[in-house]
């Protein structure tokens, strides 16, 4: 009975969040320069509707919305994983220098005038390269601790930061807006949402059975080992998957801040700290929030567009502070 109860306790919030996510995506495809009513949306989705609506939804808004959902989900899950791995509430997906590495590689290829497709690949490579660099450096002579990993990550990040500032300072003026938009995180350049969505789905499925081990790991590596967790392999797989998730997110939309830090915390304040619930909930909530933020970013001062990263911070800061203030 307890098992059934536990499953129900977990599935209710997840069902609610799934519904909310669908609602956010539906909302995002109906809002914009041409408003589309719910009935028109339904007509398009069931294979009919006006050609203009079809193009708008199926070719422009839905892919962008799905890309936003995938990116937000990836970041929130990566953030939740990093917080458990480092046992530090300040950890976010970028804490180990992944966004910096991605940004340096992406900006370099922008400066070299390479096509957007190559910029994405460079960002992916830069993020993973930075992850490997930080891991290798903190590994040292075989004994990495979370403090050392964190410290190495922070220092490498600030190194990347300096390189980015340098490139912005010497870069040609006409390329600055593009570079800045990339740095702030923007979904306008997102191409196919599928790679990010597939990676999000796959890692979620792989991570779900690890949830309880993560709960145990959150109590410290010694305690976890004493309770039968193979700590090192688990830590490596968390590090690897969080890096992969973040690299995919950064490749899709640049470095969007805040979602990865705040969504896991918001969920912990509301739902408790069972990773079996937090991880899928983070995927849904992060996704839904970024869809909303992106919708706002392209409508608030339409036809001008804001980078979605600005909106996530503007919405996230007060929401998070409110939840924190209200919590025990």
């Amino acid at each position: 009975m307890a098992a059934v109860e536990a499953l129900r306790r977990r599935s209710v919030p997840l069902l609610f969040l799934s519904a909310a996510s669908l609602f956010c995506i539906a909302l995002s495809v109906t809002v914009g320069s041409v408003a589309i009513s719910a009935s028109d949306l339904w007509a398009v989705l069931s294979g009919g509707g006006e050609p203009l609506h079809q193009t708008l939804i199926m070719e422009l808004r839905l892919p962008r919305s799905l890309a936003a959902f995938a990116t937000g989900g990836l970041l929130a899950v990566a953030g939740a994983l990093m917080q458990v791995l480092l046992r530090n509430p300040l950890a976010d997906p970028y804490v180990l220098g992944l966004s910096g590495g991605a940004a340096v590689a992406a900006l370099l290829s922008m400066l070299s005038g390479l096509p957007p497709f190559i910029v994405s690949i460079a960002a992916f490579g830069g993020a993973l390269g930075s992850a490997v660099l930080v891991f290798g450096l903190s590994h040292g002579r075989g004994s990495w601790t979370t403090t050392r990993l964190l410290l190495t990550g922070v220092v490498v990040s600030s190194g990347w930061g300096a390189v980015i500032t340098f490139m912005l300072a010497v870069g040609p003026t006409e390329q600055l807006p593009g570079m800045l938009y990339w740095l702030m995180g923007d979904l306008a350049y997102a191409r196919s949402p599928w790679p990010a969505l597939i990676i999000l789905a796959l890692t979620s499925i792989i991570l779900l059975p690890l949830g309880r081990s993560l709960n145990v790991l959150a109590r410290g590596p010694m305690q976890a080992a004493a309770l039968g967790v193979a700590v090192r392999p688990l830590e490596w797989s968390i590090y690897g998957s969080a890096s992969l998730l973040t690299a995919s997110a950064v490749t899709t939309a640049g470095s969007i801040g805040f979602i990865g830090l705040v969504v896991p915390h918001m969920l912990r304040l509301v739902l408790g700290n069972d990773q079996r619930l937090i991880l899928p909930a983070a995927a849904l909530t992060g996704g839904a929030l970024l869809v909303l933020a992106d919708t706002l970013a392209r409508t608030i001062i339409a036809p001008e567009q804001l980078p979605a990263g600005v909106i996530t911070a503007l919405l996230g800061v007060p929401t998070f502070l409110y939840l924190l203030y209200r919590s025990r």
């Binding site: 536990a6 917080q83 046992r87 709960n215 109590r219 309770l227 039968g228 912990r268």
Partner: protein, 260 residues
């Protein structure tokens, strides 16, 4: 019914001589105490016996099988460790914390069953924590957290207990309750090993004693043989007064320190 054996074991403490290789077997029903001054390596020995730290030489065997050949999960079904220091990690309730003791028995997809919950509640009952079931661990007192650690290990249903200073933070009554708990566990065939600072708890409850000196030398044996005033005085470099109450020996520190 399980045994834990040290075989020519030398624990790895940086920049220390090998000292005496440890060679003993903890049998079901026995309660061992490791005694020694601060920094003698009691915790390192306990972690090495649990397979959490690699020895410098020799090996630890669980039921005649080297710990190296066993998976962590198999070890965790036999050995529970009560740590001296604990990390709270993220906020969790008392009940959630006890339930993680069931982790070694659960497959990745399993959720806690009614039986697990029953075991967890029974463990809370035995450590007098039932009333605190829904409290956040961060709101507990030091002694309550110590009992929670005991409850978590109880919920793990180990054949072998390794507890590092289990009396830390406990008031007198709860110290006795904790020792009674270990005695009950030993009575039903579990093996118990404790790092202790309190000679009198060791004298009252333990069947075997291991004396660990800061230079790595060690000796071990039945409690009544090991608890010699002169040996203990050398161990702690502290003069002791021995008294007898109800036919049992007790040791009280005398005021003068021995200078050697």
């Amino acid at each position: 019914m399980s045994t834990l054996a040290a075989r020519q074991l030398v624990i790895d403490i940086p920049e220390r001589e090998d000292g005496t290789p440890l060679d003993f077997t903890i049998q079901p029903g026995e309660i061992w105490a490791i005694l020694g001054p601060n920094g003698a390596g009691k915790t390192t020995l306990l972690h090495t016996l649990a397979g959490l730290k690699a020895p410098r030489k020799g090996e630890v065997a669980l039921n005649d099988q080297s710990l190296n050949q066993l998976r962590r999960k198999q070890i965790a079904r036999e050995i529970a460790v009560v740590f001296q220091e604990r990390q709270d990690g993220f906020p969790a309730t008392v009940l959630e914390t006890v339930l993680i003791g069931r982790h070694p028995y659960m497959a990745p997809w399993d959720v806690e069953t009614a039986e697990d919950l029953e075991l967890a509640r029974a463990a809370l009952e035995r450590t007098q924590l039932s009333a605190l079931e829904d409290r956040l661990v961060s709101t507990l007192s030091g002694g309550e957290r110590q009992r929670l650690a005991l409850a978590t290990a109880l919920c793990q249903q180990p054949a072998i207990w390794l507890a590092d200073e289990p009396g830390n933070h406990l008031d007198l009554r709860h110290q006795v309750e904790a020792m009674k708990l270990f005695a009950n566990e030993a009575d039903v065939g579990r093996a118990v090993l404790l790092c202790l600072h309190d000679l009198n708890l060791a004298a009252r409850w333990c069947t075997h004693i291991l004396l660990l000196y800061p230079d790595g030398r060690a000796c071990w044996g039945a409690a009544d043989k090991m608890l010699e005033r002169s040996a203990l005085e050398k161990l702690y470099r502290q003069q002791l007064t021995e008294t007898q109450v109800d036919g049992r020996r007790y040791f009280v520190p005398a005021t003068d320190r021995i200078d050697d």
